[in-house]
Symmetry: C2
Subunit: 293 residues, 2 copies
């Protein structure tokens, strides 16, 4: 996903409050741990491959069921569904497709993330989303990206199985051509604006509208993303102006939501940015606090 | 996994080289990003559930195949196999089992990790593995742990399907009783030393010997861990005294290794510690470097 303005505001506030010298690490030759894990480790690569292996097996089986005339349902939530009462419409005779987010789902933005890790020397700077820098990155980063490990093989498998590959990203609609170029550069094939490539023209960071448009044409047998907003905007609902971090994590344990992961909804790991990297100590470690004695 | 002494030495060296004021963050109420993602986020929880959903479906199908008399192979590498030439022995009439790592695979060590994130105020301190503190944690943390999201349901499914649940961890064999207590506290059931619970008595952080012992008795249809050493010690081979970070990640793209993830080998995400959090800028971002202009 593209980082959202809420995170930006929070980070900017934090930055303003912090002493100027805190968190700088001009002396270190090592990126922060989460960058090491996502962009450089075998463990991170294997976790991504695991997600793509599961996705392609699932999608091929669902598409085969559809071709056999068995009932298959959309993995896009039905209109009016809630997270407490998820519902999914029948696909009818619409043809099978898989909908992918782009950034840190199919593409590793190594160029921009190198800069976030290194050139923004402080931790708070690397946390803050620089909206202007990202806009520039969308325009000139097309040849400085890598595929997420396993993405190319998964997309190839889907296309060979006659399953449409659709891209739905919160990159700006103004970067349509450059985004298609980035996907092509990474080996992910052709993305056609308005047909298989859908970007954010409203600037609101929401995806449900575009998901509904896609589901009018296609049987969306699977979706993949690195943020829960890649599955439903309902996951991004705020309470008292904040993301309800604890409640949101607990919601993953509900019978239906717990079941979706790896069975229609496929998550690519991203500890580097986004809504998974929010929350204060009371939210992240609410109990079990310990120290050596 | 338990953190290893190599990482400790590297972190200690880094710590010694860093100015005392660098990286301290006494002013922040937010844990580092990777702690937020793993211990507190919905995205982290969903990634874990996805891995466990894939594992239980895979293991149940493999066990069913075994019961039907179809040939099933061990997911423990055969003696003499290499990562370039992986090989797997037939299970014969051995009964099905799944082998799990414990720390950050089935258990979230929230007590100790809160301390790593908060009380060790600097980033380098939170990176360093404190061997003495961990030894104390093994002894008195049994009631300060949580299950990894999805772990309890997965272990329940396996046991109901008459698949043995075996624990193989690098926790010290001196902590056998406390480790069994921690597993029970988290809802993961009974672990019997020497039968279903295997810990490190040599202190060398290696697991292949115990894996071989387990595979003498059981048909290991799946393994799960947060570190590649949970699948084979071969992944931990050093070159010139260091982990070959780039080569190790690239190895994930080989046809056989790429295929294992989600199909016999199941990775739980852990960007917080271990061999996935190593590497300098040249290893993590070897190319594609960019800055806004």
């Amino acid at each position: 996903m593209r980082r959202l303005t809420g995170a930006l505001a929070a980070a900017a506030a934090l930055l303003a409050a912090a002493p100027a010298t805190a968190q700088t690490r001009p002396d270190s030759d090592q990126p922060w741990r989460e960058f090491q894990w996502l962009y450089g480790s075998a463990e991170g690569a294997a976790t991504s491959r695991q997600a793509f292996n599961a996705l392609r097996a699932f999608a091929v089986i669902q598409a085969e069921r559809w071709r056999m005339g068995e009932p298959v349902v959309q993995r896009v939530l039905a209109p009016g569904a809630t997270l407490d009462r998820p519902a999914f419409e029948s696909c009818g005779d619409k043809k099978p497709a898989v909908v992918f987010d782009i950034d840190e789902t199919l593409l590793l933005n190594t160029g921009a993330e190198y800069w976030a890790a290194a050139k923004q020397q402080s931790y708070e700077q690397s946390r803050a989303f620089d909206k202007d820098a990202w806009a520039k990155w969308e325009k000139d980063g097309a040849k400085l990206v890598d595929p997420v490990p396993g993405a190319v093989e998964a997309v190839d498998t889907l296309r060979k199985a006659d399953i449409a590959v659709i891209f739905n990203s919160n990159r700006s609609a103004a970067s349509m051509q450059e985004t298609a170029e980035a996907l092509a550069h990474a080996g992910l094939g052709v993305a056609e604006p308005g047909k298989t490539l859908f970007l954010d023209s409203a600037g609101d960071g929401k995806k449900d509208g575009r998901r509904a448009t896609i589901a009018e044409t296609w049987c969306v047998v699977a979706m993949a993303g690195d943020q829960l907003g890649d599955f439903s905007d309902l996951f991004n609902a705020k309470e008292n102006g904040r993301l309800p971090v604890v409640k949101r994590r607990q919601a993953m344990g509900s019978p239906m939501l717990a079941r979706m992961w790896g069975q229609g909804w496929f998550l690519l790991p991203n500890p580097v940015y986004g809504k998974g990297a929010e929350g204060d100590f009371n939210e992240i470690f609410p109990k079990n606090r310990w120290k050596p004695h």
